[in-house]
């Protein structure tokens, strides 16, 4: 056999349409953007005030909580996990931070210090809860769904317990001190929007530009392959939950000054919203691939929908949720077509 005469690879593949798949892949990524643009056009048509700077800032500011949590959720979902507890976790953290600040404010003599320490506490608590999830899931080998369904109940129960069934409320003067974190602006842009932006950028960097982010994607794509590539699968997974916990902590930091209280209904169903933001943003629930940009857009998109519904009253209020549902499905349809 004289194969050395072969021109072999030269002939191959000359005909293949290399450009086309990448271009649809690109287009595909634009699904949520297209959805968002269409929605904004619809919003402007329905109510001229929609397209004002004020309204835009309002929407972005309120997206911040869910958006920040969604950034963390994005990591968890890409790695193939899920976290149902984020809403309760946020509520419990908010409750703890409020109790802490209320107690420390007078005790330390410096309300400012109390607020700052409270902020640190929020992030630390988030990280600790995330760590607990991660350990139960990896070392305990329990389905993430079950672990976080369990802690969903646990976190909320403890908040209810601490609040004695009522609400935990930030003391008034402390509250005034803390309020700027939510209500102040920097260069005309509200603080929460800045925080959201920074978290998203850091999240994007970690996901796309660090080895850790690469491992997260590899694990979600094929855990066995990652393990064979000597990736510390368990540690990477644990870290995704810790990251999410930290994001929840940060989101809570913005939440507390806004409403100044935590009650058993705080954060209800945030988990669904956060997960929905991630998935509307084009990440597959099965993990493997996803994008922070998509997630951010997904989160904004969800708040724009309810903003538009607030700004118009074309249909029965009872049907708001139906419109929301339909829009979500339509947006997802626009950006479908992976398989």
């Amino acid at each position: 056999m004289p194969p050395e005469q072969l021109p072999s690879t030269d002939t191959q593949a000359a005909h293949r349409p290399v450009v086309q798949p990448r271009w649809t892949e690109r287009l595909h990524g634009f699904g949520p953007v297209i959805g968002l643009v269409l929605l904004c056009i619809a919003g402007t048509l329905l109510n001229g005030d929609f397209a004002t700077l004020d309204n835009a800032m309002n929407v972005l500011t309120r997206t911040a909580f869910i958006g920040i949590i969604a950034v963390g959720m994005c990591f968890v979902i890409i790695s193939g996990g899920i976290d149902l507890s984020v809403g309760s976790m946020a509520a419990l953290i908010a409750g703890c931070v409020i109790m802490f600040i209320n107690a420390m404010g007078p005790a330390l003599g410096s309300p400012l210090l109390a607020v700052v320490l409270g902020a640190v506490l929020a992030v630390v608590l988030g990280a600790v809860f995330g760590l607990a999830h991660g350990l139960l899931i990896t070392k305990g080998r329990i389905e993430p769904f079950i672990v976080t369904l369990g802690t969903l109940g646990i976190f909320r129960a403890y908040l209810t317990y601490f609040a004695d069934g009522g609400a935990l409320t930030l003391d008034n003067e402390l509250s005034d001190l803390y309020a700027p974190v939510y209500y102040a602006s920097l260069l005309g842009i509200p603080v929460p929007v800045w925080v959201f932006f920074i978290v998203a950028v850091i999240g994007g960097l970690i996901l796309n530009r660090t080895a850790y982010g690469r491992y997260v994607q590899a694990i979600g794509s094929n855990e066995q392959v990652a393990r064979y590539a000597a990736v510390g699968v368990d540690n990477v997974k644990i870290m995704t939950y810790v990251l999410l916990g930290v994001c929840v902590g940060i989101a809570t930091l913005l939440y507390v000054p806004r409403l100044g209280s935590a009650s058993p209904t705080t954060g209800l169903l945030w988990e669904l919203e956060a997960i929905a933001a991630v998935i509307v943003g084009g990440t597959a629930l099965k993990g493997g691939a996803g994008s922070i940009t998509g997630t951010v857009i997904g989160a904004i998109l969800l708040s724009v929908i309810s903003n538009i519904l607030n700004l118009t009253s074309i249909i029965s209020v009872y049907l708001n949720a139906a419109v929301q549902g339909i829009v979500i499905i339509v947006v997802a349809f626009l950006q479908r077509g992976k398989r």
Binding site: D54, N58, G166, A167, Y255, R258, G260, T265
Partner: protein
């Protein structure tokens, strides 16, 4: 009329019958009042949770540009700041039902009487049982409001050492949960004299559970709020266990809107606090609490 009144109404979404009533009465008010007054515009927003309500308040203020607000806060503490912000933008604020933690954030307060909501059933039950017997209670969802009612109930029972409150569990203002909790109460306690269901919706589940267990020791089932079905039962005298209820009508949202709108149209103010009393509903006065068109 000095100027047009652009009135915003912010209420919780209709997630259970009582809120369904609130929604009904709010819409009713819009219909009646807008017909009556040419220069009045009412915008109603319903929220599924506290942050959403805060968002809606913001939208009402910055986009709809309301100059008067009637708000039924999801939670007192959480909505204090957002309401204060609306007020700071110059709107006249009437708060309904759940008072804010900082009263300077509101111009007027119109409310039902949650203390009476807990006190009246306790007194009624104590009287019915002659100060002796076993009582179980169902609670709503863990909230300040629920705490207030429970505390009032407890404080009355303290005066009746012969009455034991066997247990009080959450049934989330939900018929199904009330059914299950009652089933288990019935398994656990062989003799129960009265059940305080604390809400007419929950009372429905309680009654079904009793029926299913074929228990006849329960003499009193006391709901709360005066839902039309319950009031009808009292009117017709259909069920010996249900002879009384305590009023807490969602219609107060109608009153609040009407009072606010009319006062603002005339440029007047409301009294700082208007309490719409909760009263005992019995066969005698039931008719005046019966609104067959309302969903509640």
């Amino acid at each position: 009329a000095a100027e047009t009144v652009n009135l915003g109404v912010s209420i919780p979404a209709a997630t259970h019958s009582f809120m369904g009533g609130i929604n009904y009465w709010a819409n009713q008010a819009k219909k009646d009042l807008e017909k009556e007054h040419k220069d009045l515009k009412i915008t109603i927003k319903t929220a599924a949770n506290a942050p959403e309500q805060a968002n809606q308040l913001q939208d009402l203020s910055t986009v709809t540009k309301i100059n008067a607000l009637v708000v039924f806060p999801f939670e007192s503490a959480a909505l204090t700041k957002p309401v204060a912000q609306v007020k700071a933008k110059g709107a006249y604020v009437t708060v309904v039902d759940r008072g804010l933690t900082d009263t300077s954030a509101q111009d007027a307060y119109v409310a039902g009487d949650n203390t009476a909501f807990g006190k009246i059933p306790a007194e009624y039950i104590a009287k019915k049982l002659d100060g002796k017997g076993n009582v179980v209670a169902l609670r709503g969802i863990a909230t300040t409001l629920d705490n207030e009612r429970m505390d009032a109930f407890n404080s009355v029972l303290k005066n009746y050492p012969g009455i034991t409150l066997l247990d009080a569990k959450y049934a989330n203002w939900n018929r199904d949960d009330a059914f299950k909790v009652t089933q288990d109460y019935l398994t656990r306690f062989k003799k129960i004299d009265a059940i305080w269901a604390a809400d007419d919706d929950m009372a429905v589940g309680v009654l079904k559970a009793i029926e299913q267990a074929k228990r006849d020791d329960i003499l009193v089932v006391f709901g709360g709020a005066g839902a039309k079905g319950m009031v009808k039962t009292i009117m017709d005298g259909k069920d010996p266990r249900i002879q009384a209820d305590v009023s807490y009508s969602p219609k107060f949202i109608y009153d609040a809107i009407k009072l606010t709108a009319e006062a603002r149209l005339k440029g007047e103010k409301l009294p700082a606090t208007t309490i719409i009393p909760s009263v005992l509903i019995t066969k005698d006065n039931a008719k005046s609490f019966y609104h067959p068109d309302s969903p509640f």
